[in-house]
Amino acid sequence: MDNEFTSTAFYTKLKEDRQLVGVKCKDCGHLSPEPRPMCPQCHGFNMEWHQFSGKAKLSTFTCISIVPVTMAAKGYGRNNPYCTGIVTLEEGPQISAMINGVDGTNPQGIETGMDLVLDPDHLDEVTPSLAFKPA
């Protein structure tokens, strides 16, 4: 079942289990929040599921005013920018994620380094996003 480590499984686990579940290489221990069938570090194919704690820190971010079509459909735009960025998971790896619960119109008030937790609420069924919110 090599191909079970897919993005489909990632978003299904996010929606149904409300957990951030990635993979760990059983050979070298490399962690990847994105499920993948092959270890990019040791090139082995011996992956297993790994549940991340959902705790993270905000590494960097942006507040987007000119939004893609899918985000416009969710009500975001010039007058309602959203915050997205890169978070560093407690376990070490980084991943791109929406940052909920902050004011996208006031980026100066958003602090990099802040503690975050996984936000599995408000998951869109059609276009689910990995999201975090202030802890």
Binding site: E34, S59, T60, V67, V69, P93, S96, M98, T112
Partner: protein, 426 residues
């Protein structure tokens, strides 16, 4: 493995002997094939010793996404047909915004291998058919569609996140970014092919004049920076990036003629040699070791410098991939012109201006010249070609007899980077 440290060399030297650029801008009636023909016409009309089109043996054309922009796949054979060069082999190369950088690399290797003596390489993109949100979506498809795009990241968004990281780590501020735009617009104002041939000052004056015509409140600007800090004139796109931090949406094409160096003088007395080529690959920003640097750019430049046998101190000027103002600052650090974190100060001190010690983007860069993504890599090579031949006109660099120029072409958010070293024959 031993091959990792192998010193890479071309099988034989390769020269650029001709260059052509279409007008850059928005051309509703033209398709990408028309733009490519326009660039080709510019090239053949400016060949120093003329040239027989039948001598072209092979071609590579960079194009990011005619499929999504024009609903046209398999564009390379159409270009060959429009140029009347069938049945020679032509191949489309797609590496996002580095497509023609990679196309040039393929052309260089095709000659260096000994297979061909005369190769046409170029690039094209027809972007303005779609509205801005559609273009944003097409460009975003060069990022990771499974893990970056669903998180809401756009192209400006990813570079906005890089800018924020640079601001956190160093003393970079918003004005540093805007000063890159001011410099590149100043250069673009001197480039008759540029999409924006206006300084920021000219744009500010136009805004004032428009307000006066319409009887609206007339804004007052004390400086170009003052204008760029007016949120109505320069709205946020992806904080900390504003409109003027972003390269525009552009239609355009570019091409150069590559030949084996031993026949270069049949075409021109002033060939420009490809002294070094480098290409490297990076991961999505969230998987990168650093948020303030593109690892592929560092690796590609090291390859190119080593092949050319130069150090960064030999470089007279560079065209770098300023898809966003922060991208230019990061590029000048990744290429080794300035230490990490010193790029913003170099902009402040005018070191990257036409008369600076490290002139960057004399063409106006992607910011002012325009960014028809598939055409940009070869477009950069064309600017260096002209500068090294002393043909920069009003925007010719002030240093005398520039000898070595570098191009830096990024695909996606650093997934691909192509760096070339070009050198004038001594």
């Amino acid at each position: 493995m031993a091959t990792i440290n192998k010193k890479r060399q071309l099988g034989r030297p390769v020269s650029v002997v001709g260059a052509g650029l279409s007008q850059f801008g928005a051309f509703p009636d033209k398709d990408s094939r028309d733009l490519f023909v326009e660039a080709f016409r510019d090239m053949i009309q400016n060949m120093d010793k003329g040239f027989d089109i039948q001598d072209i043996e092979c071609a590579y054309v960079g194009n990011y996404s005619s499929d999504l922009f024009e609903h046209q796949g398999h564009t390379a054979p159409i270009v060959a047909d429009w140029l009347g060069i069938t049945p020679i082999p032509i191949t489309r190369i797609e590496n996002a915004c580095a497509s023609s950088g990679s196309a040039l690399r393929e052309g260089v290797m095709a000659i260096a291998s000994g297979m061909y003596d005369v190769v046409l390489v170029g690039g094209m993109e027809k972007m303005t058919n779609l509205p801005t949100d559609g273009v944003t979506d097409v460009l975003a498809s060069a990022a990771d569609g499974l893990y970056e795009v669903p998180a809401g990241l756009t192209f400006p968004g990813i570079f906005g996140a890089i800018a924020k990281a640079h601001m956190d780590r160093y003393e970079t501020n918003l004005d540093h970014l805007l000063k890159v735009a001011i410099k590149n617009h100043a250069n673009g104002a001197l480039n008759p092919k540029a999409q924006f041939q206006q300084t920021v000052n000219t744009m500010a004056e136009r805004r004032i004049a428009r307000a006066q015509e319409r009887g609206q409140d007339v804004p007052e600007y004390n400086s170009e920076l003052d204008f760029l800090n007016d949120e109505r004139a320069n709205p946020w796109i992806a904080w900390p990036l504003r409109l003027y931090d972003c390269a525009p949406i552009t239609d355009g094409a570019s091409c150069v003629l590559l030949v084996s160096e031993d026949i270069a003088h049949n075409f021109t007395d002033k060939p420009i040699n490809i002294a070094g080529i480098g290409q490297a690959t990076g991961k999505p920003l969230h998987d990168s070791d650093e948020l303030t640097s593109l690892s592929a750019a560092k690796a590609a430049s090291q390859q190119a410098y080593e092949m050319a046998g130069i150090t960064v101190s030999n470089v007279d000027l560079a065209e770098v991939h300023d898809c966003f103002t922060i991208a230019e600052i990061v590029a000048t650090e990744d290429l080794g012109f300035f230490a990490p974190g010193e790029g913003p100060r170099a902009v402040d001190e005018g070191r990257t201006a036409l008369d600076g010690d490290h002139p960057i983007n004399t063409s106006g860069g992607l910011k002012a010249k325009g960014h028809p993504v598939g055409a940009s890599g070869v477009g950069q090579v064309i600017e260096i070609y002209h500068q090294l031949r002393g043909e920069g006109g009003e925007r010719q660099v002030k240093k005398e007899n520039p000898t070595v120029g570098v191009t830096h072409n990024v695909g996606g958010t650093g997934g691909t980077c192509v760096v070339n070293v070009l050198r004038r024959e001594s």
